[in-house]
């Protein structure tokens, strides 16, 4: 495994442009666009990464991405600091010097990268299943909440309606009399509202 990067780095840098579809970055970006791509078996991904042209630029980019990913798992500040430091390094030193350093450690990093990609896929699927699990038990609760009105609002509405209807009852009694069926209907509604209010107050008292 470690020999391949040596041979690859000695090769010319033309094939990176000739095979853009096999670039691992394209695979990952396509995978996020459609769910089916997430089921790409890992060996295929690894093969593609091996077949990928290993020009210095692509290697450094891949190495940078993998390092950044690992660092970000450790913590935001740590990863950001390391990324910033890496950027400064690349600006300061030449690419060849960096490549020499990388070639010695690239093999081990590649392996770690594979493991990382595997764990990433597993993590994403487990996360999605976790999300589903999180939401499913609460679905009934949320459905009920969607249909119900909040209790303080109900209380406000009922209190206000009670005041309005009590005043209207006086008008009814003066206009059509106490024994009219409309007056009695209104009286029954008022009593119903009062009962509901007293129930609520009793519950609050307990």
């Amino acid at each position: 495994m470690e020999e391949k990067p040596f041979r690859a780095s000695l090769g010319s840098g033309g094939s990176d442009t000739s095979r853009p579809d096999n670039d691992i970055r394209n695979l990952w970006t396509r995978a996020t666009l459609s769910q089916s791509k997430l089921n790409v078996p890992l060996p295929n991904v690894c093969e593609d990464s091996d077949l990928e042209d290993s020009s210095p630029h692509s290697k450094t980019r891949r190495w940078r991405n993998e390092k950044a990913r690992r660092d970000s798992d450790g913590g935001w500040d740590h990863g950001e600091y390391k990324d910033g430091f890496k950027q400064e390094e690349l600006e300061d030193h030449s690419l060849l010097e960096l490549q020499l350093r990388q070639e010695s450690s690239l093999g081990s990093h590649l392996e770690e990268g594979d493991v990382d990609s595997k764990t990433e896929i597993e993590m994403s699927s487990s996360e999605s299943s976790l999300n589903i699990l999180k939401h499913t038990p609460h679905r009934a609760y949320w459905v009920e909440q969607q249909n119900r009105l909040p209790l303080p609002l109900m209380e406000l509405m009922e209190n206000e309606a009670l005041e309005i209807l009590t005043k209207a009852l006086r008008s009814y009694r003066s206009a059509v009399g106490r024994d009219h069926f409309l007056t009695k209907q209104l009286q029954r509604s008022i009593e119903g509202l009062k009962r509901r209010r007293s129930k609520r107050l009793n519950l609050l008292a307990y």
């Binding site: 009105l149 406000l156 509405m157 309606a161 309005i164 209207a168 209907q185 209104l186 509202l193």
Partner: protein, 218 residues
């Protein structure tokens, strides 16, 4: 017109662009309507309607009954939820100073409300009767009939009314812009004043410390 603070309607709000209630607000309003609908007809009669408006607004009896007659477009002596919803939107538009926007967005229903006789024309009397509802001032009414009565019959048809709503909407937007600019100016002036004050305070404190030192030397 002012809605009673802390009343149920006081907590509702219109969408500022379309001047309508959200679905959630409508749902709540339906519940409220059913609480008041004690006879289970899905309507409110004139007595219930009067007491409702008397409770939530500061309108007088005459104004309330004008509104009831306007909304009772079937002359049933009762108003249904559609009319109740329209009334609530008008109340909220007035409360939130969105009358121009409301009339612009809902020019057809407003025109039909104002057209009491169904002649497809609105006279100046109609506007006078309902100016407390849409907050149209006398001067604006004069301008309205002077500028927009294209046909010259001293009444506005729907197209003329629509032109009027577009014109008032433009005026409203210009007013909003001018108000925003004035606010910005005021903020800038305040900042400049604060800076001056702090600078003066610094200078005076420096001077006082200098005099204290010189006194101590003496």
């Amino acid at each position: 017109m002012k809605l009673k603070q802390g009343s149920f309607l006081w907590y509702l709000y219109l969408d500022k662009l379309y001047c309508l209630l959200s679905v959630r607000n409508v749902k709540v309003l339906v519940e409220y309507f059913h609480l008041l609908d004690v006879h289970h007809n899905n309507t409110l009669n004139d007595v219930l309607f009067y007491h409702f408006l008397h409770h939530v607004t500061n309108w007088k009896r005459r104004q309330i009954m004008i509104v009831f007659n306007m909304l009772d477009w079937n002359a049933m002596g009762e108003i249904g939820f559609d009319q109740f919803y329209m009334l609530v939107c008008i109340l909220l538009a007035q409360q939130n100073h969105l009358e121009e926007q409301f009339i612009f967005r809902h020019s057809r229903p407003v025109f039909e409300l104002l057209d009491l006789e169904g002649e497809l024309r609105i006279g100046a009397d109609n506007f006078h009767m309902y100016n407390f509802l849409f907050n149209i001032k006398k001067q604006e009414l004069k301008e309205l009939y002077h500028d927009f009565d294209v046909t010259g019959d001293r009444r506005l048809n729907y197209k003329e009314f629509k032109l009027f709503t577009i014109f008032t909407m433009d005026k409203y937007q210009e007013r909003q812009k001018a108000e925003k600019e004035n606010e910005k100016k005021r903020k800038k002036e305040k900042k400049a004043l604060l800076k001056k004050k702090t600078h003066q305070v610094n200078v005076s404190s420096k001077q006082s410390s200098f005099t204290n030192r010189s006194e101590s030397r003496i």
